[in-house]
């Protein structure tokens, strides 16, 4: 079986300044990968090369075995779900129209879109009557659920998320993160999530890719990274979740 995502020496420079060094990465189907690192680490740039929002300066990205350079951007992006921090719901469209936007672009018929919209509202645990509301009338958490539903509308096999929970309060955040992991498993997605929150990455992801200065400095399972790593920067990064885990065990053990 071909891997879902393959990066082959992918790099990106703006005006000669490299933001992403030549990078190799292979993501098999069904994996939930977290890209972590500080700001300027190159993780968002890497994510955006996957759906063509950023065109690599060098190297090749292959999605399901096909080089992305062979496809035009819009066609590629309609096949890949995309969720980001600012959500970016279209304020002039209803919730239903927002969710149905990719199917509309793909030319689905109206009845099929309506049915799919209802199905997606159920899937992201939102009441169906929200379909006729405007995004302005929703809470932050509801809005991001609509954002997730919109990304999944055309049944993509790959879901990209750029700091999807960053703007939410912690209670909402945990609930939504759990739901996203559930959806990932239920729909057999391949998910790549950018986050700066290492604890979130540890709790959700199958695999953590740590980036710094435009390159990958660590790439392993959460368990392996918690156990220890040669790079002092990665070690420093893992301190917080280790302490949290120890404290949790201590409390649970009492």
């Amino acid at each position: 079986m071909t891997d879902a995502i393959v990066l082959d020496q992918v790099s990106k420079a703006y005006d000669g300044v490299a933001v992403l060094q030549p990078t190799d990465l292979v993501i098999p189907r069904g994996q939930f990968v977290a890209l972590v690192g500080g700001s300027g680490a190159g993780k968002t740039t890497l994510l955006k090369t996957l759906n063509g929002l950023v065109t690599p300066t060098g190297g090749q990205v292959r999605i399901d075995g096909a080089p992305t350079a062979d496809l035009d951007g819009p066609t590629l992006r309609r096949r890949i779900g995309y969720v980001f921090q600012e959500v970016g719901l279209f304020p002039h469209l209803t919730v239903g129209e927002n969710i149905g936007v990719v199917p509309t672009l793909l030319g689905w018929d109206a009845a099929k879109i309506t049915a799919r919209t209802a199905e997606l509202l159920d899937l992201v645990a939102l009441p169906r009557e929200l379909a006729t509301r405007r995004p302005a009338n929703l809470s932050g958490g509801q809005r991001q659920r609509v954002g997730v539903a919109r990304a999944l509308a055309a049944r993509p096999s790959i879901l990209l998320m750029d700091e999807p929970f960053g703007a939410l309060d912690s209670v909402t955040r945990v609930a939504l993160a759990d739901d996203v992991r559930r959806l990932h498993d239920q729909l057999s997605l391949t998910t790549v999530m950018v986050t700066h929150d290492i604890a979130e990455a540890v709790l959700l992801a199958d695999r953590i890719v740590v980036m710094a200065g435009g390159r990958v400095i660590a790439d392993n399972t959460p368990r392996a990274l918690l156990a220890g790593h040669a790079d002092p920067a990665v070690e420093a990064l893992m301190q917080a979740p280790r302490r949290q885990a120890a404290r949790m065990r201590e409390i649970a053990g009492e």
Partner: protein, 515 residues
Amino acid sequence: MNSGLLSLLPERLAWHVVLSASALVLGLAVALPLGVLAARSPRLRWPALALAGLVQTIPSLALLALFYPLLLLLSNLAKAAFGHGFSALGFLPSLLALTLYSMLPILRNTVAGLTGVEPAVVEAARGVGMTDRQRLWRVELPLALPVIMAGVRTAAVWTIGAATLSTPVGQTSLGDYIFSGLQTENWAMVLTGCVASAGLALVVDQLLGLVERGAERRDRRVWGAGLAGLAIGLAVAVAPLAADLAPRPSSYVIGAKNFSEQYILAELMADRLEGQGARVTRKINLGSAVAYRALAAGEIDAYVDYSGTLWANVLGRTDNPGRAAVLDGLRTELKRRDGVVLLAPLGFENAYALAMRRDRAQALGIMTLADLAAKAPDLTMGGDLEFFSRPEWASVERTYGLRFKARRQFQPTFMYRALGSGEADVISAFSSDGRIAADGLVVLGDPKGALPPYDAVLLIAPGRAGDARLRKALAGLDGAITVEAMRAANFSVDRDDGKVSPAQAAKALAAGLKR
């Protein structure tokens, strides 16, 4: 308000609406795509906005005036290249100037609306796989629509207001009321034009406001109602012109410059032509230089001009060989140059003359321009809007060595008032003006003959030179109008009390013609 005023309203309103609506539609058609391009390309944005802003700084009257010579040039080029030109007068220059004028607010708001769309929404549109075109139509334009509509409203109000200025280039509009009313001091007429134009702007603004609100709320009924209101209003306003579009027997166009005497003489000519069973269109309030060119180009068929004006402005002569020699010279030269026929002098002069209040002239001992020269350094000279730039003024100034304390320019109506209130001591008057006798003014003598003769002459367009009906209609006017008769007619239109319309004055003048 008298019913004569309102009888012309449907036609004037219709033309005003046609002109403003066409300019607005054309402005939208250019400014909207330009705005989209400018919003996408920062490199284009600055020059586009700067250029539109520059156009806006040109006074609207000047913008209209500038289009006439430009179009005339293009028309002559077209005539040379394809054998026939187009009318440089009236609708076309007005339309182009107003279109340019309407563009800035639409352009500016389109750019502001599109660049103001939230970056997150733009990224989402790209992220879900919209093409550039889909992003524009499905996301950016709908979100920018309220801002763009606000620009369209501003443009509509500006255009409707500025359209009143199309009168001097020969386009019928509500401005006809304002220009004619100002000239004849008929304030009810000026007010009619203002109220009609302002009312129109107000109604259009409200209806566009409805469209704007509907677009904002995405409520089809609201913006639909606004659009329906605009469409119905347009249809109703334009209906009076539909009758005019039907083919009709050959009609004559009589021209007039922008003062009372010209209105009266145009009515006189029109009456006589209509008496012959002809259809007549009147193009009044033409600029002084515009009128002759329009005649030479065949856009008007006949009008009255003055020998001295033609001598200096058309032939570019600065000498003064005497009244008869000037007439003879014009007759041959105008025919040779432009094919224009000088049919006949009407019998009176409307000369530029310097005039003072009789009591003031007597107190200072001034009877002639030579006497004036000695006192001029203590006096203020008032001229109409063109006098100081005319060769006659240069000639008088040079011949008598006139040096005034100050010079001021007035619209003619206010020039006479200024003499009364002492804001001017001497003015450039017209010898056939009824106000000379009525205001107790004295015309200063010209012993050195510095001012050329100004015989009123009938001019006919080249294409009408052999037109028997026109010649027959105008035949009886040869030398038939005395300066006293013309003064009386002019005064009947200009006075404050018992004012009559130019058409009524023309009838009275016709009744008293010399046989």
